[in-house]
């Protein structure tokens, strides 16, 4: 399953409501979409700038359109701007990909104070098993697959770590920090930038 899909399922509860504030969720998903392209070696971070290194279209349709978006920009932009920009419709787009794969059902409801969209998982056991697998590895400090480490990193910077570990700041949290810091520099940079964006969104929040 693509990284952004994994993160999406982790970040929604069994009724399809987000476990995070919409701004944190959006930034986390945007980071996951960028990470997919970094893993496919289509884009790279040079410092905090995002650059295209290979324009061969990725197999996945969503990854393809995101790469197209990046390529059609007249100049390169800082990764921070990409997080803000892609975050605007990241939930909608990743939700669509999961819907096509038959993993969630989109339910839109209108309320007097606004619209709310839920992405209900079609197989609750499967999403719960994903959570349990990741959580167990972290709590037992087991060696982890790089993709799981990256997923843990996304959970950490978006604020899902409490949900994942349930024990606050114990040894599991230290292991999480330690293993995430073994990621290659450009993925660490992506996570740092995401974490900063998540925090800034709280500080400059306005209605």
């Amino acid at each position: 399953m693509p990284l952004a899909d994994e993160f999406f399922l982790l970040a929604h509860n069994s009724t399809g409501k987000p476990r995070l504030s919409l701004s944190s969720l959006s930034l986390g998903l945007a980071a996951a979409l960028l990470a997919e392209l970094i893993l496919e070696r289509r884009i790279a971070l040079a410092g905090s700038e995002l650059r295209v290194v290979d324009d061969i279209p990725p197999a996945d349709a969503l990854a393809h359109t995101v790469l197209n978006q990046i390529m059609t920009e007249p100049s390169s932009h800082p990764v921070r701007s990409w997080l803000d920009y892609l975050g605007k419709d990241a939930r909608e787009r990743v939700g669509q990909r999961l819907e096509r794969a038959g993993l969630v059902r989109r339910e839109a409801s209108r309320r007097p104070w606004g619209k709310s969209v839920r992405y209900e998982p079609t197989d609750v056991n499967r999403t719960a098993a994903n959570w349990a697998r990741l959580s167990t590895m972290l709590r037992r400090a087991e060696p982890m697959h790089p993709l799981d480490i990256l997923l843990s990193g996304l959970a950490l910077v978006s604020g899902l770590d409490g949900y994942l570990l349930e024990d606050g700041r114990g040894p599991a949290h230290r292991y999480m920090l330690q293993i995430v810091s073994t990621l290659p520099p450009q993925l660490r940079e992506l996570l740092n930038q995401t974490e900063a964006a998540v925090g800034d969104a709280v500080l400059s929040y306005r209605t």
């Binding site: 790089p146 480490i149 604020g159 920090l177 810091s181 073994t182 660490r188």
Partner: protein, 507 residues
């Protein structure tokens, strides 16, 4: 495609992100709505006349307006160079070093908490008589205060900030009502002719002048907020400075005019006595005599919403300060986390607990809500903010002196130097006249305790920073970076070996 084609094509990203950016009017509204003018005019000014017994308040607003405009030159220039530009302590950390920065952060926490909690006294004192008049119910001030407290506490955790449009509407109506009151007061001067006594510079050469200046600073608190929107404004180099100067100028003119009009309507010789007697009702009574009951009712209602808006605003400022400090690990990391609503809930709850404890203490001790809660904590908090502004001014001076930059000499040297000198004079006068500011005897313990408390927390902050420097250098390194310090990763030393994750992403 050719290179020239690439560079002239419009960027979809820039178009989308720009549509969301703020212009000068929006930033001014956000900045001013934290200033809540009616709270200052009806609450701070009248209580100020009553407690200090000095006429010079209108001039003090003008003078402090000029000093703060001067200060803002260096402030907005430095805002372009640092992260977390909305918080004074970030300037201090960048200019004067991290220990001073943490000291400033703790002073800010104490000051903003005092300002917020003091408002519970104001709403209790103001709403009690109105509830009696409107609905015939007689409730103690602390019952009202507790209701307001519950509302603020709930809104803080649920992250229901008062909507920007509602705040803008309230702000504009407040200013309109104040201007109508001013006109009515100036058209009906006591004794039949306009008096300019309170504007005579002689009023600033009286023994209590420091008290007036500190009081005027209190009216301006919140003007620094425009810098928060640096990254969201259309053109940070223009939008934030213009919005800051505009806010300072509007506040200075509005408050100077209103407090002068008050002295005209009561007669300069009567304003102190009448403020003491009628308290926050003074401007409503003055207006009511000429404008009729409806306008006064509207004014009263706006006074209450104004205090509520101020409370919510200071509550959120305090909670976000704690959030930023939690991200930096200067406060425990838990403060740097958010609830599912996205609210910085630990900071919010902490601030609410402080408010509750203070309200209950005052209620049980039977202390006066207006003078002892609102005015003492308000002026105390205002003094703390004055200390922060002064330290920030020095920090800007040092910051620009120590590095290469492209700011003008005016913005980096001249204006910050003049502002620093002026602010040091204001701080000294305010400290010397602190007993006058509080309206207590010169040998009162409070006169030393309130300024002293800021010194104590500042020293505590410095010690905390020095402890972090030796015990936790990674945390120490990120002090002053606000949210950019992040919760954990930035504090984690980079792995020495590429480890088992080297297989992905390349290096």
């Amino acid at each position: 495609m050719s290179l020239s084609e690439r560079s002239t094509r419009p960027s979809a990203m820039q178009t989308t992100l720009a549509s969301n950016r703020l212009g000068v009017p929006a930033v001014v509204i956000f900045t001013m709505s934290a200033a809540t003018p009616l709270t200052v005019v009806a609450g701070v000014v009248t209580t100020g006349f009553a407690v200090t017994g000095i006429l010079g308040i209108p001039l003090a607003f003008v003078l402090i307006g000029v000093v703060l405009a001067l200060f803002s030159v260096g402030y907005v220039a430095m805002a372009r160079h640092i992260a977390n530009a909305g918080a004074f302590y970030a300037y201090v950390a960048n200019g004067l070093g991290k220990p001073a920065g943490v000291g400033a952060a703790w002073v800010a926490l104490l000051a903003y908490n005092a300002l917020q909690v003091g408002l519970y006294g104001a709403i209790g004192a103001a709403a009690g008589p109105l509830l009696d008049q409107w609905f015939g119910i007689d409730v103690a001030w602390w019952v009202v205060a507790l209701c307001a407290w519950a509302l603020v506490a709930a809104l803080g955790v649920l992250r229901v900030d008062v909507n920007g449009r509602v705040l803008a509407l309230l702000l504009v109506t407040e200013i309109a009502v104040i201007m109508v009151f001013n006109v009515a007061e100036l058209l009906h001067p006591a004794g039949g002719h306009l008096t300019f006594d309170s504007l005579s510079p002689g009023n600033l050469f009286t023994p209590g002048v420091g008290a007036l200046l500190a009081l005027a600073v209190l009216g301006f608190v919140g003007f620094e907020g425009a810098a928060v929107f640096s990254e969201e404004s259309r053109d940070p180099r223009r939008t934030v400075p213009i919005a800051t100067y505009t806010s300072v100028a509007l506040i200075a003119v509005l408050y100077a005019l209103s407090s002068w009009a008050m002295t005209v309507a009561t007669g300069p010789d009567q304003v102190v006595a009448q403020s003491q007697q009628q308290q926050t009702e003074l401007i409503f009574n003055l207006a009511g005599a000429h404008l009729g009951g409806t306008v006064v009712d509207v004014g009263h209602a706006l006074f209450l919403t104004s205090i509520l808006a101020a409370m919510i605003s200071f509550h959120n400022t305090t909670a976000r300060y704690m959030f930023a400090l939690g991200r930096e690990r200067v406060l425990p990391a838990a403060f740097g986390r958010t609830a599912r609503t996205g609210a910085p809930h630990i900071g919010s709850i902490t601030q609410s607990v402080i408010g509750l404890v203070v309200i209950l203490t005052y209620a049980m001790a039977g202390w006066d809500p207006l003078v002892q809660l609102f005015f003492w904590l308000g002026t105390g908090g205002g003094f703390g903010v004055l200390l922060l502004i002064t330290t920030t001014s020095i920090a800007a001076l040092v910051f620009f002196a120590r590095r290469q930059h492209d700011e003008s000499a005016w913005a980096s040297v001249v204006a910050p130097s003049l502002a620093t000198l002026a602010l040091l004079v204001v701080v000294t006068l305010a400290f010397v006249n602190f007993a006058d500011l509080l309206g207590v005897a010169p040998d009162s313990l409070l006169r030393w305790a309130i300024p002293g408390s800021f010194v104590v927390v500042a020293v505590g902050g410095v010690i905390r920073a020095l402890m972090l420097r030796s015990a936790n250098p990674e945390v120490y390194a990120t002090i002053g970076m606000g949210a950019r310090a992040a919760t954990g990763l930035a504090h984690q030393p980079a792995a020495l070996t590429a480890g088992n994750a080297a297989g992905i992403g390349g290096a």
